[in-house]
Assembly symmetry: C2
Homo-oligomer: 205 residues x 2
């Protein structure tokens, strides 16, 4: 017996699924209504407009995407390496459950550039983090390869972690990996990525 969900919830979940999968323009209000199994008018009754509904989903998706980072980046008693291990593990678990979050987010920038960037303002998570202080300190002490700037490191970490999920549909189609095998690969990467990052950070002497 499926728990009795309110119409409002049904709409929101249908909208989340479709918007996250296909973006804004490709999803029609009638698609959402059908997916939710409700009358089209209820969408406007509860959420005023398609636009408003989308923004709501978008904000939640962004929060899902960046929550979990904050705590890790600001721990004062873990090493840089440990932080990368925790970040990788947290991210891969999250992406395994919501594999098209990254595509969604990068796509909002394409479809509605202003909208996302404006909502993203509040996000100074990284620049204000304890992690960054820690990183700079290690760099001054010469414990870190100074030829790799923090921005390269960030690009690398996010690229290594997030990219496989963006490319997932193509990868699976081309390689023939099924869902299980794909997840097993990602599980492997939980150990591999921090290792790779570690070697990148190692000072060249």
């Amino acid at each position: 017996m499926t728990t009795d969900i309110s119409a409002e919830e049904k709409i929101k979940e249908a909208a989340r699924k479709l918007f996250t999968q296909k973006g804004y323009a490709a999803v029609k209000t009638r698609d959402i209504a059908t997916e939710a199994g409700i009358n089209l008018a209820l969408l406007n009754y509860y959420f005023r407009s398609k636009e408003k509904l989308f923004e709501m989903i978008m904000v939640e998706n962004i929060q899902n995407f960046i929550k979990g980072i904050f705590g890790i980046l600001n721990k004062e008693d873990t090493s840089i390496e440990t932080k990368f291990e925790e970040l990788t593990s947290t991210y891969i678990d999250m992406l395994a459950e919501q594999p098209n979050l990254p595509s969604f987010i990068f796509n909002v920038v394409r479809e509605k550039p202003d909208l996302l960037l404006e909502k993203l303002e509040a996000n100074s998570i990284i620049t204000n983090s304890y992690f960054l202080k820690q990183f700079k300190a290690a760099m001054e002490k010469g414990e870190i390869n100074s030829s790799i700037s923090p921005i390269h490191l960030l690009l690398n970490f996010v690229g290594l972690t997030v990219f496989p999920f963006i490319g997932k549909p193509i990868i699976q189609a081309r390689s023939g990996l099924d869902q299980k095998q794909f997840l097993a690969l990602m599980e492997e990467r939980k150990k591999l990525i921090p290792m790779w990052i570690k070697t990148m950070l190692k000072p060249t002497n």
Copy 2:
């Protein structure tokens, strides 16, 4: 004096620009007509339908994305390391000129999953390449770290190279890098990425 371009060309270029930027559903035929400065009916006169026009652009975009790989992967007289250097350089140059090709391609899979994957069938570039033979041979000889499978390597290479361009709008907005600075960073990566790949490949003894 702008060279006199035919209406057909104007439409195609406008379509390429807009579709590549925003995907299929978000672009309206009238947007294309306006961008091209032509009468709406000409779009259908020359290209039958929005769908046909889109497919044409898509195929060309995919070809742009994968051309250039083939030659490099099948050279019989270059080392694995050299191949990665050439791939990185070729790719970053190409992406610098067409930064939203990756977003476009990954997005087609979202909007029209069947369409892209069907067109992608012909693409067995990697699996049939001389590179793969070379790679497997090196692995058997123990010249390569056997804990990293070719698929991880591919994910890493593409992730490190392509991801920054997918994330470009967000990265620029958050970091304040201008176009010039961003390109300088990517230029740096031409040397860095092959180096990182190299250390990933190094056997752990």
